[in-house]
């Protein structure tokens, strides 16, 4: 079954308190290529590597069905800075 953005978001929200989620399907709909951006207080005090490992684990089943997966993980404060820089 191909992954869609709704399922992916549900899988994330189930285990993570996100204040903001962006899921971009970069595959033109074939469901194999996703870029996600997550903003969560749960990331506070954790290194990027730890955050990514956490998300990789959380979405293990979904990622194994994808061709490409990219993630950005911010705390709310970091996300403000990220937006301010105009990225």
């Amino acid at each position: 079954m191909p992954i869609d953005t709704v399922n992916l978001e549900a899988a994330i929200r189930k285990s993570l308190n996100c204040t903001h989620i962006e899921i971009e399907d970069q595959s033109n709909g074939c469901g194999e290529n996703y870029a996600i951006l997550l903003v969560s207080d749960d990331f506070e005090g954790k290194s990027t590597l730890v955050r990514h490992r956490w998300i990789n684990q959380l979405l293990k089943d979904e990622i194994s069905q994808m061709h490409a997966f990219s993630q950005k993980t911010f705390t709310p404060k970091q996300y403000e800075i990220h937006l301010a820089k105009g990225n």
């Binding site: 590597l49 990514h52 490992r53 990789n56 490409a68």
Partner: protein, 147 residues
């Protein structure tokens, strides 16, 4: 009692061995990958080669290492497309689901996303400097980003 204990101790290694063979890397494969990750100060597992990357993420990773001026003699790359065993093995070894994967002095750093964000924040330069991969910049004297 003794017999039961004996039997279970005889049986268990077998069950474990079969279980681990199915689920985990063999000792041998793990040792091979351990050697690979520590073969050079900087090791990149990628799709394709530095001159001919076969995936956008691997291309980005090798470009970042180039921008950081990682000397060729300190960098070793492995093309996972040429070695299916390595391709699945390294994912399990690093507990990381995607390629590319970067190691510095035998330590896992991350994949493309992490590499890119560390490059942008300056953390990657610091990491490479503190691992003696690239020379430390003294104060403001040498403008590394002049170009």
């Amino acid at each position: 009692m003794l017999r039961t204990a004996l039997r279970s101790s005889l049986l268990r290694p077998n069950v474990l061995a079969r279980f681990s063979a199915a689920r985990f890397l063999s000792q041998e494969a793990r040792a091979t990958i351990q050697n690979a990750v520590s073969a050079s100060p900087v090791v990149l597992f990628m799709k394709g080669t530095p001159d001919h990357p076969e995936c956008g993420f691997s291309r980005a990773a090798i470009q970042i290492l180039g921008l950081q001026q990682v000397p060729a003699e300190k960098l070793k790359t492995y093309n996972v497309l040429a070695d299916p065993e390595l391709r699945s093995g390294i994912k399990e070894f690093s507990e990381w689901p995607t390629i590319p994967q970067l190691y510095v002095n035998g330590e896992f750093v991350g994949g493309c996303d992490i590499l890119l964000s560390m490059h942008q924040s300056g953390e990657l330069e610091k990491l490479l400097e503190s691992n003696d991969v690239i020379p430390k910049v003294e104060g403001e004297a040498v403008p590394v980003h002049a170009a």
